[in-house]
Symmetry: C2
């Protein structure tokens, strides 16, 4: 928490994006015979899964087990997980967009807040921070317009270039939803929240400033950041570091392709940084992982604060011993 | 050609990556009932397809119709196109790598050079430049190790971090093949050659300098560049512009996510630039496309030369009228 806010610390703390997940045998056991969505809705199970990395791999924060599409479930969109999100009727017209609603998250996804409250109660004694998260409006819109994941998101970009008013209307609804959803997470005990913009990096700098930045700024402004700092992750966002700084987020979570030391120097006192080892690098020998951790920690000192993390989420094939080597090296930092 | 070499021109010339392809009804007609690989091997058909964009959409250069995996066909790898390249037995061990050979391209893929000779003869009178191309060793290796396309290329990176000697041996063989293949294209009439490193952008800057740069430098050094300038394209390479400059390539082809004006200023007299409109932006209204072309042309002036192009290949859903608007706007530049 101090690193997020830029206060003095002895060493950077460590957690990993997707730290609870398919690379852990214990996670696979907890998920056996249960659909992904059911696991997100089952408070006991989601609490267990969220806590696994704390005990099993030695991370220093816990993040809510859920999915960025969970809060979309109450918006009147026909959404399924197979296992990625699939939208039966992709949103393409203003009518489609106007048909979706922004529900009270306490009513549409009450279990999310029940999970957070339970986790906070569990973690309070150990002073382990609890993180919440949400998908950024553009990333949610990308799937809702495209219907599923895509390499190019051509349908989304066609809407952007041909019917900007439709995309804007969709983003506004998603912004509204995201602000309410993240503030409700903070009310339920999240001590920091991460906004994942997985697809914003698909845009060039000018389009990013037009389409992404205003939405990040709105969220940063309307969030209860006095109670929970905002961490902003943009996948493939090395070319938009300046507008990421302008977002107002407290922590900029950097993709593994960014030179963290150079970025930290550039950011300076304007924000903290998070990251950014390549998740695939956890396949390397432990001593090599430890050397990278020392290098990242040294580079991160130029920013006002640094949270050690990966530059993207753990992969199903990530070796558990690589994750342990990563957290052990962080804890061993002077 | 003058833009590639940094000589004075009235305005930047224009062509498009994947300008011959699925977005053109005439291409789909020429491909009807013919497998992709058969179309690459059929000299008449490949010549016809290569020339289509010159007549149909007004591009100012012709590029050989082929695929980056065509020269791999003679290397003893079990390769199929479905429609992307699929390797029946991915290369994983030193034995696998040592089993592949570097054939004389004149023997393994003679049709490629027949196509180039025919194209050069057709184009000579009109003084339209003919481009050849090849996939960069790392991108070829990515598929050969992974077996197919992938989001993360985890198997490739595991090899990089765990068995670097195996990957190095593979890259050396692919370098050798690529140098011979591109020089044979130049002998057959290619007046410039483009090296496509589609997956190099997956690496962070330090890994890029270790794994990608030496291979680009070797190719640049061993190519007959006095007869044909080298264009280097790195997809998602905004974070590795400096090592791209160090490659020795004559032209740096920039991904659409790069701010071309800023990159051109940074590159200055060290290389020409190529690019870089987002292919999805060709869905926009023609006047908007024309404004982007003018903006790109103005930005490109800071480099020693500029070739107008997309920042990635045309997509199957690219509207033909958008492509025409792009080339028309380039030709209308003062």
């Amino acid at each position: 928490m101090r690193s997020c806010r830029g206060e003095p610390v002895d060493r950077p703390p460590v957690w990993l994006m997707r730290q609870a997940g398919r690379y852990l045998p214990e996670y696979r056991a907890a998920r056996a015979g249960v659909s992904f969505l059911d696991a997100c809705r089952d408070v006991e199970r989601a609490v267990e899964i969220s806590l696994q990395p704390l005990r099993l791999v030695g991370t220093e924060a816990v993040i809510l087990f859920s999915d960025i599409f969970v809060p979309v479930l109450g918006m009147g969109v026909d959404l399924d997980f197979r296992p990625g999100p699939v939208i039966a009727k992709p949103l393409r017209t203003l009518e489609d967009v106007e048909a979706i609603s922004v529900p009270d998250p306490q009513e549409s996804v009450p279990y999310v807040f029940a999970i957070l409250r339970r986790l906070r109660a569990e973690l309070e004694a150990e002073a382990v921070p609890l993180l919440g998260f949400a998908g950024a409006p553009f990333t949610l819109a990308a799937y809702l317009v495209e219907g599923k994941g895509s390499k190019d998101f051509g349908a989304l970009k066609r809407m952007m270039y041909r019917e900007p008013a439709v995309l804007r209307a969709l983003l506004e609804r998603l912004e509204e939803m995201t602000v309410g959803y993240l503030n409700a997470q903070i009310d339920a005990g999240a001590q920091a929240v991460q906004l994942f913009d997985t697809w914003a990096g698909l845009l060039g700098p000018a389009d990013y400033v037009e389409w992404i930045l205003p939405s990040h700024q709105t969220i940063a402004r309307r969030l209860a950041r006095d109670r929970a700092p905002l961490i902003l992750y943009v996948n493939g966002g090395g070319h938009v570091l300046d507008p990421m700084i302008e977002s107002g987020a407290d922590v900029l979570s950097l993709d593994w392709r960014v030179d963290l030391a150079a970025a930290a120097r550039h950011i300076g006192r304007r924000a903290s940084v998070q990251g950014n080892l390549d998740p695939c690098a956890l396949a390397a020998p432990p001593e090599r992982i430890a050397a990278w951790v020392r290098e990242l920690a040294a580079g991160g000192r130029a920013a006002r604060g640094h949270v050690l993390n990966l530059g993207h989420g753990c992969l199903p094939e990530t070796p558990v011993e690589g994750v342990r080597a990563f957290t052990a090296a962080a804890r061993a930092l002077a």
